[in-house]
Amino acid sequence: MNFKRFLILVITLTAIAVNAFSQTAEEVIRKMDELQTFDTMYSEGTMITEDRFGEKRSTYKAWSRGSQDFLIEFTNVEERGQKILRVDDELYLFYPDAEDIIPMHGAALKQSMFGDISYEDITEGRNTLDKYDVEMIGSEIVDGKDCWVIEMIATSRDVPYPKQIVKVGKEDYVLREAEYYARSGRLLKIVDVIKVETFGDGRLMITEMVMADQLRRGSSTRMRIDTLEIDPRLNDDLFSLRSLY
């Protein structure tokens, strides 16, 4: 084999490898989305935020439909009756004391919903590939699990973070860690998955994770699912403004 043929072979193999790697990144993300998306779901959970002022705990009930629609109702004493509805790509808040529905737009979505979680953090949905260009950038062991490391660059203006790096288990396609970056490249938040459980038909579900704010030292929010019901029968009216009152 002369040098010219050898060079063509190397280039061809490299192109095939790069292509395969790129497809794999998309495939991994698609599978990860599929695993975490249910026709319907009901859960009860706890959110615990820790910062320099101490610890705060909230409990909630949540209903979701597909990859986009959800309704969250807080059940702890301080916030009892407060609801957050996401439907038709719009986010609404309901405060029982005011008996008023507040649509959330623009900069308002940046406000904290709970601790380090902003409203925009919960509006991303799971159709990741519609909103990001993904690229496989390597492998890494996260908490003993071999993971793909995938860089996601936003292609849509509907997402809050222009860049994310996600680490997804090679065996189970479950997200193990995520890093959120600002436009300037500065790391904003890190999500660590603490616990993954198997439910019903053997599907894996993240039941505990911690989101740590990298700009505010010592500030983190732990989200824990205490009760989970997959594919329960839900009334369509649940995901409407009427259900907020």
Partner: protein
């Protein structure tokens, strides 16, 4: 002809204590009226000036719909300032493009006293053009002014004190780009402003326009162009003349009264409170005078009966009492205006230090630290005539009651 006034004067002198107490009540009410009017007018004038010099200018040009959504800092409602500069230059007005955006100021222990973050409004300004419109640069109390292209930040004096900020300290700004992406960038505190407008001192955060343009990815667009025609009388008319041309470009132009609507609302409420003060003064004066006049009349029922028996007519007696009350009103008026002027003088010269009150809470007024009074001469004249008029009016009612008794009943009155 002078009999009745002389007699009224003698009566006033005869009942010195009563006269002085009644005149004192009137004087106190009038003094309060003059002082409060002086302070409120002073605050109003200074607030209006500070609003225009540090916040609103004569008016502001914005993209259509920006003002309605201003609470959410809609960066997408921005425009190229170059499209309005030709007409602004033709009018000779000063103009200053700015970008207003919301975000969090994040700071860390060492050099700051502790970690923290505060949400707020950031204003990106053209370091050169801004001086043609606002007096911010003249209020720099520490450090240096912003330099185009350098990542500097100027903070309000109270804000800097609250977070323990000093010159050279570095902070982070967490915000969103025009496209809505999360953005974080560093700024170094280069200056601190301490201006007479408490809104700026309490929460002002200013950075160079070019820095905001780069990090917010504004592509040369701005959220507002502030226009300055000065603070003289013709300024509003000059700005109003500009509005049709601006609207023809698909933009909107709002004058300082709309931009400073919170202050205008306070100012209008003040007009209402002034009315309430006048009403209270009328009550104080009315109750005091009517009480004194009733006492005077009832003490002298038999004396009046005798005067009427000797041939003095009701009209003359009524006139005598009106002269008496007018005398009390005059005394109260003079005292009141004199005292009012006496208290107003230090208010005009030195003012009252309200820093402790204004620092903690915003009342809508744009004054900081010292509240100064003004010499409100029309209010003093009004106060004087109000005192005399009230005294005469109330006396007329009191006298009327006693004159309804017949002469024998008056002579037997105990």
């Amino acid at each position: 002809m002078t009999f009745l006034p002389k007699m009224a004067f003698k009566n006033l002198a005869r009942y010195k204590k009563r006269t002085m107490i009644t005149a004192g009540a009137i004087a106190y009410g009038l003094m309060m009226f003059i002082v409060i009017r002086s302070l409120l007018t002073g605050i109003d004038n200074e607030s209006e000036t500070n609003l225009r010099l540090y916040e609103t200018a004569t008016g502001r040009i914005m993209a259509q719909g920006y003002w309605d959504d201003r609470e959410t800092f809609p960066l997408e409602k921005s425009f190229d300032p170059e499209i309005v500069t030709p007409i602004l230059e033709n009018t000779g007005a000063g103009y200053s493009p700015r970008i207003s955006f919301g975000g969090d100021l994040i700071f860390y222990k060492d050099p700051f006293p502790e970690d923290g973050s505060i949400p707020g409004r950031f204003t990106a300004i053209d370091p050169v053009l801004d001086a043609d419109v606002f007096k911010l640069r003249e209020s720099l109390s520490e450090g240096s002014w912003l330099v185009d292209g350098e990542q500097g930040l100027i903070l309000g004096h109270w804000l800097a004190e609250d977070i323990g900020a000093g010159i050279g300290h570095t902070v982070l700004v967490e915000t969103q780009t025009k496209d809505g992406y999360a953005q974080v960038f560093d700024l170094e505190i280069v200056g601190i402003v301490n201006c007479p407008n408490p809104e700026i001192t309490r929460s002002g955060m200013f950075l160079p326009l070019s820095v905001a343009d780069e990090f917010l990815e504004m592509d040369g667009t701005v959220t507002e162009v502030n226009v300055n025609f000065g603070t003289l009388n013709g300024a509003d008319a000059d700005f109003a003349a500009l509005v049709p041309d601006v609207e023809a470009m698909g933009l909107e132009a709002l004058d300082w009264r709309i931009l400073g609507a919170d202050f205008i609302a306070i100012s209008q409420a003040k007009a209402g409170s002034s009315g309430m003060i006048i009403f209270l003064i009328l009550i104080i004066a009315g109750v005091g005078i009517s009480n004194t006049m009733l006492m005077a009349v009832y003490e002298r029922v038999r004396e009046l009966g005798m005067m009427r028996a000797l041939g003095m007519r009701n009209r003359q007696i009524r006139a005598m009492f009106l002269w008496e009350s007018a005398g009390i009103g005059l005394l109260g008026g003079f005292y009141g205006v004199g005292l009012g002027a006496l208290v107003t003088w230090p208010l005009v010269k030195w003012g009252i230090d309200y820093t402790f009150l204004l620092r903690e809470a915003s009342f809508g007024y744009r004054i900081q630290g010292q509240m100064y009074g003004v010499w409100d001469i029309p209010s003093m004249i009004i106060a004087f005539f109000m005192g005399v008029g009230m005294a005469v009016l109330v006396a007329a009612f009191s006298t009327h009651r006693i004159l309804r008794l017949d002469i024998p009943a008056s002579l037997r009155f105990q």
